[in-house]
Symmetry: none
Subunit: 239 residues, 4 copies
DNA sequence: GATGAATGAGGTTTCATTCAT
DNA sequence: TATGAATGAAACCTCATTCAT
């Protein structure tokens, strides 16, 4: 799951454990709940969460990104996977479960990554630069998830099940805003900018780029980041 | 339709002519084409045949903005208007016609306004500033349309009927990019920024603000514009 | 709606007003909720609740009675009515709404009727006789509703929406039990019978008869009632 | 299988022979018909090939009783047993096979028991009393089966496979009705009661009690039976 | 015996749209 | 203009059942 770029930038994530704690419902069908307990699961293999399942999630993510969550039908996804729509329900509770898995996965990952940058204790300016680079760095490996987030946020945020989206958003905002404020305090950033406003503009600029960013185009995501940092730090004016 | 702010800023729009030429289909139902004869609208009455129609469009725009185009049902709109869903079809061909009217109206307006700024023949830097102010200025009067554009663009752009969206977008891009390039040529803007990239970031930053911008909040749209111009021109660094 | 027999027996119900207050949700689609208020409804006509709708309810009741609630599909009902399944949703919220209307209608009616008998202030023995006659009297006009109640009670009672079933049942039980107790006090009924148990046996015997009772058979419902009263009051033994 | 009470009352059942002849299809999967040869079960081992199977039937019966046959899914049963739904098909042909086993088991048992009472050659009055006691006595050990019979009869009776239900019902009816008639002939029972009607009322009253009868409540099933006999024989009136 | 994946038929519901009145 | 009834396509989802491993 080419998160290599992301991991390199931060160096904190050791293995590919899928953490879905953020989401209240990981979407796994409740099949064997009353289970007897005698269910063996092979020698030592740690869950593994089904490669099939992960494959399906990835397919769905592509479709959601391309056509939007609502416009993508369960049949679309099933056809893409070469099965019947009903068969999808062997793996997922509902269409919502799928998008939940996509988004909660992305969110837990990005938040840990952000925290990793902050924990490095760099100067505010370098921290902001690090966060920006990190964010742009997710554009490619998490293109689908980010696109869904951008396009369907408004629709999804209204549902109880996705309350964690708003919650996570707030947490992330705090990380950035605090860093910007620290930068103002230590004299790195201008006093006459509004930290919250500035954060939002940065955030939006980065995520929204997913709409037109094409991997393998003129600029790669690294180039994008550097370009943006330049403008963001020093403006477009000559001095 | 409080476009006052916008009109003042530019001074180009004289009357309330509804220009729908951009859209291939103006969305008017063919129903009453062979008009019976009882149709009043005499010579001196410039009154649009339907304030009712405009009212309905506005209601629909609010709903589309709030819940998304797809998630808003024709019934939702009808209910909001206090009529039955079938009755809407006396005013509009289809659901698409309504959103078409919303978006095409916004686009023709914004494009004329942009052109008006450019035609003033100011310096590149002042022109860019004017465009940015203009764009932020639309946030309030056109909140619904912009929101729809932001959220449902991806879905709508795939439909033939909305091909004009992409076309208009390209025209607008050219206006901005040309101005930025002119600014680089005359030494106002740094040579090491990518004009196209820079335009996109500016554009996205402005429009995406519609997601969190609340009229009557801490900053009005004018304040937002000035804040952004500051950052955009000179960066967030102290110098 | 041949409730004639029932009404005669009691003489308290004046018109065919459909009272659905017992049910928390009458099942009417929420169509014009935000309604403007200007909705006129003809000169003086008191609602009328759509004969079409009532017709559909009756068709559905027959099917539910014949095949059971779960085994009856929405398509079955629609076919019986000569329309498509989706069209049913113009009249009803859901399949549940239909059965709700059937049962809540029956319950409000029977409870009022019971109360009417009690309010006549007859002796306990005559009151019980009246109640039994009344109950048997509903077998024919409310055959479908009673059948549904008998067969699907267990399934329906588990749903929030049908909580009123259990509530109504308790109220009815109180009416009967109080009367039986009064009969014990005034010496009409034996002291060594359990009022609650006795009520339940009477109730079950009556309702369950719906399973085999055929109008136009050897015994009509009046005959059934008299036969049962005989056995219930004096037993099957010769004395 | 605590049929102790039942057996004691009658003393006719000698061994645990599972008699499924009544049912046209015993429900055993044809899977292991050509048995490999490793099938133990030798001479001395009377152990039923599958206590597991019986356990599953019992689990299923509980669920059918609680939620109804149709509302209980194969998955529900499997989960309760701690296996996957597909695995159930190693034990049973189909969902119907399970309920068939439940009901046919109950029916053969109760019919033999009834016959046993009749064969004792007691007076009609004592025979009826015996039958009533016997029926009430099944309420506890066969609660689940009786509940299923009561609630899902209507649904099941329509299926070919369950034709035996109606057939058995008729046989049972004959036993009772003949006894009642004999009682009328010998002067024990009133001439002015309808034997068939009377039988049905008794039968219904007993079985329907399963809906509210709670073992361990105020009255046990023996108490219930005595109470009912009192009312049935002598009525609720004082004399 | 059990798993895990899939089937296929069918279920309820939604919704844009049409049209006679 | 509006209503009220209906259409028809398609949506999400359920579930008994099958079968290779």
């Amino acid at each position: 799951m080419s998160t290599g770029q992301l991991e390199q930038a931060v160096g904190w994530r050791r293995h590919n454990e899928r953490v879905t704690t953020t989401s209240t419902n990981s979407g796994r069908p409740k099949a064997n709940e009353g289970g007897g307990g005698t269910r063996r699961r092979g020698k030592g293999s740690p869950a593994l969460a089904s490669e099939r399942r992960e494959h399906l999630v990835k397919l769905a993510a592509e479709l959601f990104a391309e056509k939007g969550f609502q416009a993508t039908t369960v049949r679309n996804i099933a056809e893409e996977a070469g099965i019947l729509s009903g068969s999808l329900y062997h793996h997922f509770d509902s269409k919502e479960s799928i998008v939940d898995e996509i988004l909660s996965g992305f969110f837990t990952e990005i938040m840990s990554a952000y925290q990793g940058v902050i924990d490095q204790g760099m100067s505010p300016r370098d921290t902001i630069a690090g966060l920006v680079r990190l964010a742009f760095g997710t554009l490619e490996p998490h293109r689908a998830a980010i696109t869904v987030m951008q396009n369907d946020w408004n629709y999804l945020k209204g549902m109880d099940r996705f309350a964690y989206l708003t919650k996570s958003e707030d947490e992330v905002e705090k990380m950035w805003v605090d860093t910007i404020k620290a930068g103002q305090k230590d004299g790195s950033f201008r006093e006459d900018i509004d930290p919250k406003l500035t954060y939002r503009m940065i955030r939006d600029t980065v995520w929204v780029a997913v709409r037109w960013f094409k991997p393998g185009g003129r600029l790669n995501s690294k180039g994008l980041a550097e370009h943006y940092l330049k403008v963001m730090f020093d403006g477009i004016n000559t001095h």
